[in-house]
Assembly symmetry: C2
């Protein structure tokens, strides 16, 4: 059995991994709505003005502002209504002095007018309208190009497509948008004891959990998971899968990075790429391998499901977000009190899952082999390497799952 | 033109809308990975034990604990190795007194043994091993069923499928899971001035923005958007679309709820359903209509894009999350200082979009007709109805977009 030589701190591991992470710059075109949450790969310069014409911002009367000067509740100005302009229609007449046009919100401002008196400040009198308040030129008018003008960007490279940015693309009539491709991540379960879901378990076998937890983390952090079949713990089989997935940006193995006799992942990485670290001072999740094969990143995650998943949250997610050009997301947190005294190992960061009940956090960790250490928890507390004890009722920050 | 009769406060509007919101209880079956973020509609009782057998939690030696009692660094116990047990294989022999089996992490514990001595506390000596520390029965062993035992739930109705809960389903071999169906939301743009993306704008027309912003909000809050073609502002056309979409849980119209002569949505709702409110004391977004048609909810959103979208964040998103049984999500916030003095209208809640620069929030709101009021902003500040002024350098909470 080959021991892990030197544990490095979690911070060091994260920093080494992040330093080797390059953003994926491949580009693909998607319908704007399908681009939700994606990172924009082009600066889109508008070819039109938005609005394409000056329009009324109110229901009211399009006027020459100078005709309304001095108008007041007790001293209304009377204007002749020459036409009614609905949204979507085109004014037929020009507004001359002492004339006006009834106009709906969003409708095109007629020639000759420069402002709109809102309906609340008017009163109809036959074919005329009494204006009870003055307006200044431009008042209640959205000017042509005021929102987005020809030649200016509606959206910029690097923007994340949220509802309003998708709206800006719609505003200029764009149906599709170039976005950066998602990092392609091969998710590779290893181990002779692993069986695929739906199969009947043979004696000594357990179901493949890690592919599903890893793929969930990959896909919720900007990546696209390629789910691969279970690979035996042999150099030959591992080499075969590495070769077959050269098109992936990242390979994530689970199992096979511990110190057992048949853990051969390390050999494969040493032969075909570069080992960056092997072994992190974290609990659970110590036997974690990270390296590069050419431009590819490679993670060898522990086989135990909670160890594998906690490292996916702590290491894989930030690396993937950097690859995807997404901002690093701070998990939602909650400050509460620990319900029980917790002893932690000095020198190793501890990822302690907790259940929230009332105003208290109860330790929920069973063992790193148990998925319910996490599935039956509400969040986790990170206990730093230099802390060996959390007292009962001590304040802790819980990262929600 | 028909005036809005009485504005109600935003809190009242939200509470009226939420009180009329029922969760969607239709159920569908999806592959477990595809269920990410969905709400589980069944309590899944495990038919197997996880792990299905007692297994070693360490690389080491499976022993009878009683054989190790008293073992110490200077007083090792010598045991005979009878076989090597790899993960995924089945032990062939039973462990008798003074015997042991070399065992890998995750491998099945052989009969006769009750504990595992980790490899670090041992030393090989020919076909024997020297044990330098004692173990107690059960030590370094994950007992059969310890993670999930036969007859207990792996996941419960109402759980949201996060990575670890998907992992719990994988652990018991489940490939599919019943989840609640997404609320089906018809997104209906109205207005004679609206043109579909890709069409050439006729004079007086603007592109359809609201369908895209609304659908983004719908789909990022648990709903499924049905994008419908643009409908003319006529009672007949609106009635037709209402009838054709009886299968939807919600109808969201945009445009057509203001006080313009041709705003006929209110007539349709009064005729076929119940108006719950019409007009909210909020800026922008005042001319918002809400009601019910049988079990369907109906929103009539303002036509102006930023007014439509801000109400989608404030009203539509929480209603949809309740319908989807998702927890109400607090938006990510940031405390900062306002860069300029801001005057707000008393009696109306104001949704003020802001850009973040350095340590300051700069007002980014142009007008409710401009999508860039929001697309070029980083977040928004909600100014309560009873606040009429925010001073320069006053602290504000920014909700990030």
């Amino acid at each position: 059995m080959r021991p892990i030589k030197r544990l490095i701190s979690l911070d060091e591991a994260l920093s080494l991994a992040m330093n080797r992470t390059h953003s994926v710059t491949r580009v693909e075109t998607v319908p704007i709505l399908g681009g939700y949450g994606r990172v924009c790969a082009e600066t889109v310069i508008s070819k039109i003005n938005v609005p394409p014409f000056s329009r009324s911002a109110m229901d009211g009367y399009a006027v020459k502002a100078s005709d309304t000067y001095g108008a007041a509740k007790l001293k209304p100005v009377k204007l002749r209504i020459i036409e009614v302009i609905y949204a979507g229609s085109v004014p037929k007449k020009s507004v001359l002095r002492r004339h006006c046009a009834e106009i709906a919100t969003g409708a095109m401002l007629p020639n000759g007018s420069d402002s709109v008196v809102m309906v609340e400040d008017t009163e109809l009198e036959g074919g005329n309208v009494l204006i009870y308040d003055s307006v200044h030129p431009g008042q209640n008018v959205s000017k042509k190009g005021e929102d987005i003008s020809v030649g200016t960007p509606a959206i910029s490279k690097g923007d994340i497509l949220n509802p309003s940015k998708i709206g800006a693309l719609a505003a200029i009539g764009r149906r599709e948008i170039a976005v950066y491709s998602k990092p392609l991540v091969a998710v590779i379960p290893t181990g002779n004891e692993i069986a695929e879901l739906g199969q009947t378990l043979k004696p000594g076998q357990v179901y493949n959990i890690n592919s599903y937890t890893l793929a969930s983390v990959v896909e919720s952090n900007g990546g696209e998971a390629r789910m691969l079949p279970i690979v035996n713990d042999s150099i030959k089989d591992l080499e075969k899968v590495v070769k077959a997935n050269k098109d992936c940006d990242m390979l994530v193995f689970s199992g096979g990075s511990s110190v057992g006799e048949r853990d051969v992942m390390l050999d494969v990485l040493e032969k075909h790429g570069t080992v960056v670290f092997h072994g992190i001072a974290i609990k659970p999740g110590k036997p974690t391998l990270f390296g590069t094969i050419g431009k590819q990143l490679l993670f060898g995650m522990p086989g135990y499901p909670t160890a594998c998943l906690s490292n996916a949250y702590i290491l894989l997610a930030p690396v993937l977000r950097k690859m995807s050009m997404l901002p690093l997301r701070a998990s939602a947190t909650l400050e509460t009190k620990m319900a029980k005294r917790v002893v932690s190992t000095t020198g190793r960061t501890q990822f302690l899952t907790v259940r929230l009940e009332g105003e208290r956090a109860y330790p929920a960790f069973k063992e790193s082999g148990a998925i319910t250490s996490m599935a039956f928890a509400d969040g986790y507390v990170v206990i730093p390497a230099d802390v060996d004890l959390i007292e009962k009722d001590e304040k802790v920050v819980v990262h929600l799952l």
